[in-house]
């Protein structure tokens, strides 16, 4: 265990800390519900907050968890200032899942696995997800495009995401 601070640790390099963890923190903030720009802002704030004070480096995993906690607190503070609701009760479960899925490498392998799993989906299911996430279409527009009901479009995407989740979990084992 070593204690690092901006003032007294000669061997501590903030650049290394940032480079090692920024992608993981940005992705974690996106999972919490931040849009890309807000995630970028809060990622910066997370590192600046941490670097302002001495902190103890136990391990990479502990540092990542600590950074996520700071990021989470900043996220909650932001939501509070924006007077928005935030469900916090399942944060522990989210952290556990994120740790299991993406804790080792900031989620890089997870993204790769997901890319491969996407290819395994039916064309119709993949098309629905592309309309949703690429073209930013609303559910009603997706339904019209596929000539199904809105409820059907919702089910189609939910099933597709469930398949993705199962596929990703399979690759984890």
């Amino acid at each position: 265990m070593s204690t690092a601070s901006p003032h007294d640790a000669a061997d501590f390099d903030p650049r290394v800390l940032i480079e090692q963890h920024q992608v993981g923190i940005w992705r974690y903030l996106r999972v919490l519900g931040c849009d890309a720009v807000l995630a970028e802002d809060l990622t910066q704030e997370t590192f600046l907050t941490v670097l302002r004070k001495p902190f103890e480096v136990y391990s990479e995993a502990a540092t990542a968890a600590y950074l996520r906690r700071v990021a989470y607190n900043l996220f909650i503070s932001h939501r509070r200032r924006s007077r928005k609701e935030t469900l916090v009760e399942d944060i522990d479960e989210l952290n556990i899942t994120w740790d299991r899925w993406a804790g080792q490498d900031n989620g890089d392998q997870l993204v790769e696995n997901l890319r491969e799993c996407l290819e395994l989906l039916s064309e119709r299911a993949r098309g629905a997800l592309e309309m949703r996430f690429q073209q930013r279409l609303r559910r009603l527009e997706i339904a019209r495009s596929l000539e199904i009901t809105e409820h059907g479009a919702k089910n189609l995407m939910q099933r597709a995401k469930k398949q993705l989740r199962q596929c990703v979990e399979g690759k984890m084992q």
Binding site: W26, D41, L118
Partner: protein
């Protein structure tokens, strides 16, 4: 954030993969800002140019940066002075400053505590020789805004806050309905259809007076013209002479359970007297005492706990039930029940999700430091008194231990806002009196009760837990909660007005059946409630008991209140067990399990309720000369507050036609 974390992760990564939202490289931006923000070096920081953040340029003038740097410098100097002041050694101390992680001695010798303090009754977390209370330490989690600790007393003005004028009941109800409608539209939900009169009648009886309606009461209500009938029933239940006792008893039960639990004040070694507390509550509720006054009396009470004893004051029993080896339970309960701020977690450490720090818990706890209990000779009565408090140090601070072993000092301060004095002398500064005033005039007080009452009516409050309304606990309808709280305060904390508004709201009149248009409104599954339908739930034990009495024809209304309560406690005691934890929680087996089923099926009260020999519903039906369909209809309405369907009637008729003993069959059906 969705409730399933896997979905949240898949969604965000799909956005990254398909939506081309790639993680940016922020290294240089962060490092630039980091190097500019080293505040201990003002010369370089004041000359730095403003920086650009992410994709959103935020212009900061040189003047602002100079001002910020200067402020930081001043704060740092003040902290230095403050730390120097409060880091003085205790008498007899060794003069060393306690460092983080060092093992700390844990006890302050008795002679260093106030001599007038009854140490056998209330022990406080002490400091020890060589430890410097009040050591300033940084926040555990950098993302939190924590107040600076230390014995800084702020001179406060305590009194009523400015309130808006009270508006008419109907206007309040209209505002509530409009807020609900706004939410439904915003979430694209279509609320469920209206509940039938019979459904609504049953639920309003249960919520307002704690029992189901009799068949006669239900029949009378549903046969009235629809216009204004619901308002009339609410008025009758709240103000009618025939219901005032039931109203008071029901809400006495609710408040007693909330304040001291279902088992509190019943054991031989309990200092609290349940009967005394219930008497205080019942009188308060019968007289419709303003809620803020009731809370003030509970928190500032002194006197004896037992009815009939000298200096009797039933209100003392709330705090007596909280007295243990220290007063932390009183602090925790006061903050959660009256202010909607659950502080148990921060009692021992700063909580990662709470904006309230450990220091604030102990600052509030310091308000209870003058509280002491004495027992009059040759009696069973306990008396709650105020006594001068001294820590043995500078005076009125209390001590607590941080997780890292540091012992810190805390003076009375209400949620970080300070107090009018630090003195421990009762004559100079009655701490509980001030706390009671602070709570009474706190903006949290009306909000917490509105949330609690809303939760009572719907099974879900505006926050996931009605005891926890901190900033980390999102409010489902902030505007609605705010409006109701403001009007509750403007109506002089009239509890019946609040009950009136909620029970006549649109949300309370909706059916519990949901449709495809509001299927997403599922707080049972962890979603934020939208109140677009009425959420079904089990009856509370007290409601079941009172309803069983009703259908069994047991008229306890003629008995003294204390005997009624004793009978109820005996019955409820079969289901509730006190857990010996520091929050005085209770476990209940009244949750539809085997134990409850066996007691319900085989208990004497159920036997009474289903016996034709008693004066209950079944005997009345059997003795009447009503035709069979009328008898069946009456039993349905008495038990489940609705008429039987045609199919149900047909089946019953067929069964009775083929039965050798129709009366026995009706008993089976009942």
């Amino acid at each position: 954030m969705t409730t399933d974390p896997h979905n949240s992760i898949v969604d965000s990564l799909l956005d990254e993969l398909l939506g081309q939202q790639q993680p940016p490289d922020l290294t240089s931006q962060i490092l630039d800002r980091y190097h500019d923000q080293e505040p201990v070096l003002p010369a370089s920081s004041t000359s730095s140019p403003p920086r650009r953040r992410a994709q959103r340029p935020r212009q900061r003038s040189l003047r602002n940066i100079v001002a910020i740097a200067a402020s930081l410098l001043i704060v740092a100097m003040l902290l230095g002075v403050l730390a120097k002041r409060i880091n003085r050694p205790l008498p007899g101390g060794n003069g060393e400053i306690a460092g983080q992680g060092e093992e700390q001695p844990s006890r302050l010798p008795d002679e260093k505590r106030g001599s007038s303090r009854p140490s056998e009754l209330v022990e406080r977390v002490p400091a020890d020789d060589g430890v410097f209370p009040g050591t300033v330490a940084g926040a555990d989690f950098p993302g939190e805004d924590l107040p600076l600790p230390g014995p800084v007393a702020l001179t406060m003005k305590i009194g009523p806050r400015d309130t808006v004028p009270a508006i008419a009941h109907q206007q309040v109800i209209s505002t509530v309905n409009q807020r609900l409608t706004d939410t439904w539209q915003e979430k694209e939900l279509v609320p469920s259809e209206q509940a039938t009169d019979a459904e609504w009648c049953r639920r309003v009886f249960l919520r307002l007076i704690g029992r189901i309606p009799t068949a006669d009461e239900l029949q009378e209500f549903v046969s009235q013209p629809a216009e204004g009938n619901r308002q009339q029933l609410v008025e009758m239940l709240l103000e009618g002479e025939n219901y005032i006792e039931e109203y008071a008893q029901h809400w006495t039960n609710i408040w007693t359970n909330m304040l001291i639990g279902r088992r509190g004040g019943m054991a031989d070694n309990d200092m609290a007297n349940r009967e005394g507390l219930q008497q205080f509550l019942r009188r308060s509720l019968q007289g419709n005492k303003p809620y803020d006054q009731m809370v003030y009396e509970l928190l500032s009470a002194t006197g004896s706990n037992t009815p009939g004893s000298e200096q009797y004051n039933g209100a003392v029993n709330f705090l007596l039930a909280c007295m243990g080896k220290d007063t932390s339970l009183a602090t925790a309960k006061t903050s959660s029940i009256f202010l909607g701020q659950k502080l148990q977690c921060v009692q021992c450490h700063n909580h990662p999700f709470s904006e309230v720090a450990q220091q604030q818990f102990w600052e509030m706890d310091a308000f209870f430091s003058q509280m002491a209990v004495v027992r009059a000779p040759d009696t069973d009565a306990w008396t709650l008194v105020n006594q001068d408090y001294s820590s043995g140090q500078s005076g009125g601070e209390v001590f607590y231990q941080q997780p890292d072993g540091q012992v810190k000092a805390a003076f009375p301060s209400f949620l970080g806002k300070g107090a009018s004095s630090q003195s421990g002398e009762v004559q100079e500064f009655d701490r509980r009196e001030e706390l009671a005033q602070q709570v009474r005039y706190s903006e949290h007080l009306p909000r917490a009760l509105v949330n609690r009452i809303w939760g009572h009516f719907f099974g879900h409050g505006f926050t996931s837990s009605v005891d926890e309304m901190g900033a980390h606990s999102p409010v489902s309808h902030p505007d609605l909660l705010g409006d109701l709280a403001v009007q509750f305060e403007a109506h002089d904390y009239d509890i019946k007005s609040l009950l009136r508004w909620v029970s006549l709201s649109d949300a309370f009149s909706l059916s519990s059946r949901y449709s495809s248009s509001n299927m997403a409104d599922t707080p049972e599954a962890g979603e934020i409630p939208s109140f677009s339908r009425y959420y079904t739930r089990s009856m509370q034990p007290e409601e079941v008991y009172q309803s069983l009495l009703l259908v069994a024809g047991v008229r306890r209304g003629d008995e003294p209140f204390a005997e009624q309560q004793m009978a109820q406690r005996t019955w409820l005691g079969q289901f509730t067990r006190r857990m010996e934890n520091d929050e005085a929680e209770e476990s209940s087996s009244f949750s539809g399990d085997v134990h409850q089923s066996l007691v319900m099926m085989n208990g004497p009260l159920m036997q009474q309720a289903t016996s034709p020999a008693q004066d209950g519903v079944l005997a009345t039906v059997l003795e009447s000369d009503m035709p069979l369909p009328g008898k069946v209809r009456h039993m349905f309405m008495a038990a489940i507050s609705r008429r039987p369907t045609a199919e149900e009637l047909k089946v019953v008729s067929m069964m009775v036609a083929s039965a050798k003993d129709p009366a026995a069959l009706l008993q089976d059906i009942w």
